[in-house]
């Protein structure tokens, strides 16, 4: 039977500096979900994750992980949870293999078993060849992988990643996406915070947006994108233009002499645009989104809030 991987009820956090980070958040994440937690800087995402992971003490509210109340049995709840923090949090002078094996030991995994699990995990993340290297010698991308290896070593049922691909190159980001999709398909519930909204759009089924310590949206990704009124498209054309063509009902501007920027409303037909451009002798060779659709919606929501 499906259950909640995470249940947050009326979660509040006020720091010693009197900064109110969370004003009473209510949130549920279904088991098996790939969930995006978004918000601008300082919105309260990291505070929420910190409280779930016991890195931050809550002021009030309840957190349940797979129905285990963290106030009642945090050790049991922690066993089900893996956390990839935003910042590098291992000893840079230790060897890769030691960092992961030690983390397994902290979860009570005996050394022999920990060594086996470490080998499997490091191989899975392409780190096995670097197992005897000091962590400080790794590239930024490999350090990120090491963070994920540490979080997965005890096979958590819920994995929380706080901006895991920040500062990672595109190739490695795609590799990480594939890896995360794979472990999600194998049953691990994933909660992801990211500033790359394309990442959330690509990976996540459901989404919540936090701003100023409040939840301003909590819905499915499909539903969110459905609500988008206007989309911007960039059309590459064969000929050079000095001025944008005038076409009824469409707002068109020139991105450069060979590229048109078109705003298309949800109820408008894109075929109509192409027909009219064709009538004016303008041939479209390719077309792409102007920017990430979710990004547009996100900015709009945060502005409203």
């Amino acid at each position: 039977m499906s259950q909640f991987a995470l249940e947050i009820t009326d979660l509040k956090k006020t720091y010693d500096s009197d900064v109110v980070a969370l004003k009473g958040i209510n949130l549920t994440v279904q088991e098996g979900d790939f969930f995006a937690l978004l918000g601008p800087n300082g919105a309260g995402k990291s505070s929420t994750i910190g409280i779930i992971a016991s890195l931050v003490t809550k002021t009030d509210g309840k957190v349940k992980i797979f129905n285990i109340d963290t106030d009642e049995n945090f050790p049991e709840a922690k066993r089900l949870l893996g956390v990839v923090s935003q910042e590098i949090n291992f000893n840079n002078f230790e060897k890769v293999i030691d960092i992961v094996t030690t983390q397994a030991g902290f979860y009570g995994i005996p050394l022999k078993e920990a060594m086996k699990k470490t080998e499997i995990t490091l191989k899975r993340l392409g780190l096995w060849e670097k197992r005897n290297d000091q962590a400080r010698t790794l590239s930024g991308g490999f350090k990120r992988r090491l963070m994920i290896a540490k979080a997965l070593i005890h096979e958590p049922k819920l994995l929380i990643l706080d901006e895991p691909t920040a500062g990672v190159d595109i190739e490695l980001r795609r590799e990480m996406w594939d890896f995360l999709k794979e472990i999600n398909e194998n049953g691990t519930t994933i909660i992801l915070t990211t500033h790359y909204l394309e990442e959330a759009e690509q990976l996540c089924k459901n989404i919540a947006i936090i701003d100023h310590g409040e939840l301003i949206e909590n819905t499915s990704m499909k539903d969110l994108l459905r609500r988008l009124d206007v989309q911007g498209f960039l059309l590459d054309i064969d000929q050079s233009l000095d001025n944008p063509p005038s076409i009824d009902n469409f707002q068109i501007s020139l991105e450069d002499s060979n590229t048109l920027n078109v705003a298309i409303k949800k109820d408008q037909s894109i075929n109509e645009l192409f027909d009219q451009l064709s009538d004016q002798g303008i041939n479209v060779s390719s077309m792409r989104n102007e920017s990430n659709r979710l990004e547009e919606m996100f900015i709009e929501m945060v502005k409203k809030n």
Binding site: L55, K78, N89, F90, T102, G105
Partner: protein, 259 residues
């Protein structure tokens, strides 16, 4: 796996990690006390010592050996825990422990054991060095000696832990060792018996906790002491109990560790 076994494995893991840490940097952690103490033995023991004569009826170098061992144990136990725990805070690798199911008491014991093992190891190294300068040394009460060695390293490891909890910078972890511990140790009877002091300074010295630690250890090694041993042992145990409670309270409240 039972919760007890799980905690035991996590505790062993942390202790192993702590021991590996100071062994990995042995040139910084194990060699300096041996070199420094050799210099003390050469200068104060072999060169100046014979001119000083006897202290409490013992050769000066013989009198000095327990004090110098204790000085090394105190500074190294303290330094190990304060630097190790502050480093894990500074590097944020403390998160590795906080997100795990390890209870706070196991985290405390793990770090303290790191300090205790280093303190005892250094104590043994300094004792071995002292045998080069005074081969005839024999320990009068081995049980008391080992007990004091253990209790002292626990006590100062706990102090180092509290220092690290409140430390916000590398300056903060050197202030107490430099300006509090070192003067108290030097004035705590390492190099002299308080019986040679004028009354007023003898009375003031009695308020120095280091005096009790050094003299109890000297009683174990040489059978001479300026203080009451049962009283000194009781005070050490009392302080261990108070500091342990304080450390656990601070950890449970998340002071210096959780936001």
């Amino acid at each position: 796996m039972s919760r007890k076994n799980e905690i035991l494995i996590s505790l062993i893991t942390l202790i192993r990690k702590e021991i590996k840490r100071y062994l990995r940097i042995w040139v910084q952690t194990l060699v300096p006390p041996a070199v420094t103490m050799s210099l003390y033995f050469v200068i104060f023991g072999s060169l100046i010592g014979p001119r000083i004569g006897s202290m409490d009826g013992l050769d000066y170098i013989q009198f000095m050996i327990p004090g110098l061992i204790m000085m090394s144990v105190i500074t190294n136990s303290y330094a190990n825990v304060v630097s190790s725990f502050y480093s894990v805070k500074f590097q944020k690798s403390i998160e590795e422990l906080l997100v795990s199911p390890m209870p706070n008491w196991a985290i405390l014991v793990g770090f303290v054991m790191g300090g205790v093992t280093r303190g005892i190891l250094i104590g043994c190294i300094v004792f071995c060095v002292s045998l080069f300068f005074y081969p005839a040394f024999s320990i009068v009460n081995p049980m008391l000696t080992i007990l004091v060695l253990l209790l002292t390293s626990i006590l100062f490891s706990l102090m180092g832990f509290i220092n690290a909890i409140f430390a916000d910078s590398f300056d903060d972890i050197s202030i107490i060792p430099t300006f509090v511990l070192t003067p108290l140790i030097y004035l705590g009877g390492v190099f002299y018996s308080i019986n040679i002091l004028p009354d007023i300074w003898r009375n003031i010295s009695m308020a120095n906790p280091m005096l009790y630690v050094v003299n109890t250890f000297r009683e174990g090694m040489l059978g001479v002491s300026d203080v009451s041993i049962p009283f000194a042992l009781s005070m050490i145990l009392l302080f261990i109990a108070i500091l342990t409670a304080a450390c656990l309270l601070l950890l449970n409240k998340g002071v210096g560790t959780r936001q």
